[in-house]
């Protein structure tokens, strides 16, 4: 297991310009997530949860502060570098859209490899995709399109996809919001199991307080201020 923290945010600030007005989404946030730690990030709507996740997941640049993901300082990365970084180093499960509708479950995992230009080692990618889908209980659904899967199955495929590039950190943005409570609980249990088995760190953004029992730590965010 690596001793390098999966995420280090030091004094991170994110300011948006909304119609000429400065809106502070993240206010000097400090956060360290251990290499295999599962952190649940809770807070009201508009508190800055998704912004924090987006900065940690290399989707967004911070206005101030330092962002280190899996030992890589990405603070000053440009858009192209951020794109390459998130392709290779982070996983993301989004709130709503997680799968490419015209690709099967298996192809949704393989596309991660294709984007990284690793198509040359197709056999290894196929093996890994099938292994992930098997672990997620989707071996018999690998050739189904997203439209042929239930909400829970789709979310499980998304988890598989987020793990396909062996990330050091995976972000889950409201992973249960579109699921019924029973399926939601099952999905979070699965996330916990998969992360712990791989020693991968995770940040789970949620409103659902029942999820906190699966976390190593709960972090609260209010008006962009992180309180651990």
């Amino acid at each position: 297991m690596s001793l390098t923290p999966a995420l280090e945010l030091k004094g991170v600030r994110k300011v948006y310009d909304v119609a000429g007005q400065e809106v502070v989404a993240l206010d000097h946030a400090d956060l360290v997530v251990g290499a295999d730690e599962i952190v649940v990030l809770v807070g009201p709507s508009g508190s800055g949860k998704t912004t924090l996740c987006s900065i940690a997941g290399a989707l967004l640049s911070a206005s101030e502060g330092t962002v280190i993901v899996d030992g890589n300082d990405i603070t000053s990365f440009n858009a192209k570098q951020l794109t390459t970084f998130r392709r290779n180093k982070v996983g993301f499960v989004f709130q709503t859209v997680n799968l490419v509708p015209f690709l099967t479950a298996r192809e949704n995992l393989l596309v991660v490899d294709e984007l990284a230009g690793r198509s040359g080692n197709r056999k290894a990618a196929l093996k890994r995709a099938d292994q992930l889908l098997g672990e997620l209980g989707l071996a018999d659904r690998r050739n189904n399109l997203p439209s042929q899967l239930s909400g829970g199955q789709r979310q499980r495929v998304a988890i598989g996809r987020s793990l396909m590039n062996n990330p050091g950190l995976v972000m889950f943005d409201e992973p249960t919001s579109a699921l019924d409570s029973k399926t939601g609980e099952h999905v979070v249990d699965l996330i916990h199991h998969e992360m712990k088995e791989r020693g991968t760190a995770a940040i789970i953004v949620t409103h659902d307080t029942r999820i906190t029992k699966f976390a190593d730590r709960t972090v609260r965010i209010d008006d962009g201020v992180v309180s651990t």
């Binding site: 998704t50 996740c53 987006s54 989707l59 967004l60 192209k80 794109t83 390459t84 970084f85 998130r86 392709r87 290779n88 993301f92 989004f94 709130q95 709503t96 859209v97 997680n98 799968l99 490419v100 509708p101 015209f102 690709l103 192809e107 596309v111 991660v112 294709e114 984007l115 990284a116 198509s119 399109l145 996809r161 943005d173």
Partner: protein, 371 residues
Amino acid sequence: MNITLREMRRSWGRFVLLAGSVTLLAFLILFQQAIQDGLITAFIGAIRNQNAPVLVYSLEGQRTPQASFLSPQQVKDISSVPGVGITARVQQSTYSVKVAGSDVDDASVIGTADPRLFFPRQLSQGRSPSAPDEAIGSSDFNLGDVVEIIPSPRGTPMSVKVVGIAENVRLYVTATLFTDIDTSTRIAQAYNPNTPAGLTNVVALIPDKGLDADELTESINSSVDDVDALTREQAAATAPGVAQVVQSFQVIFLLYALVVPLVTGLFFLILTLQKAQALTLLRAMGAQPSFLARSLLIQAAVVLIAGISIAVLLFLPLSQGGLGGLLSFNGRTVATWSAVLMTLGLASTAASLRMVLRIDPIKATAPGIEI
């Protein structure tokens, strides 16, 4: 198979529809282009496909051989212009003719004083005339046909024998017979005994070695009064009616050439909007904008190549003798149109490309993605 082609395979219906539209439009363009070429060839094939690089008409002849009359002095003056090499007097008249076993029809008789000038450049069958009353016929005739010239009431019957056949040498949509000038004079006088000998409608000529045909026409026009010297290409392109036909077809081609990119552009624009969420997800997963742009261009290219190829394959058999030989397969024309349609089709994806290149991956975190 990569993501680009997998999408096409899974959504084959919509891509087939677009390729079908491209096929239809490309086929119509090729078909109309062939009709235009066929019509123009039927109008002025005899001028375009004859062997004299320069033709001189009388000014009042309005670039029509039959309406042009050159005086002996003008013929002499033309021959004396510096740079003029070989010259030949040319006569042209239209008669009613009859071949045994068929109906009376019209035919142009073109007589030349020198077979090196104003004879078809290429024969598809037979040989050039070597004796009086022999002729090269357009493809309306068969080798060995004896063509009877129907005389006027005061005239006497006369016949010529077709000893050679040339393709695409009709004149003003009538069959054509190429003879030596003595034969054409005899035909004219047999038809109407009052026809004077020595009439010249056109002077055909070859410039001296090293002299450009364009330069020579300018030189003739400036030094000989009331004549209109033209290169072979000018004489064909500016013959009465040709420019109008070309202009009418150009309007049609312009419309088609606008419809192809419009259809392709709108298709990919709608497709891009429809799959905005998937594209945003791919960007969030680490797809560079150039990857998505390349994917879009590959899809457009595949559809256009398929559509144009099918159109060419449909047109190919039709052009082999379709519409009584009016349609012909011109490889250069087909290649040019294919290139034009490909270029316009790919250019039409510019709006979609712009949209794809501007996708912000952060929107993957927001429900109800729009781009």
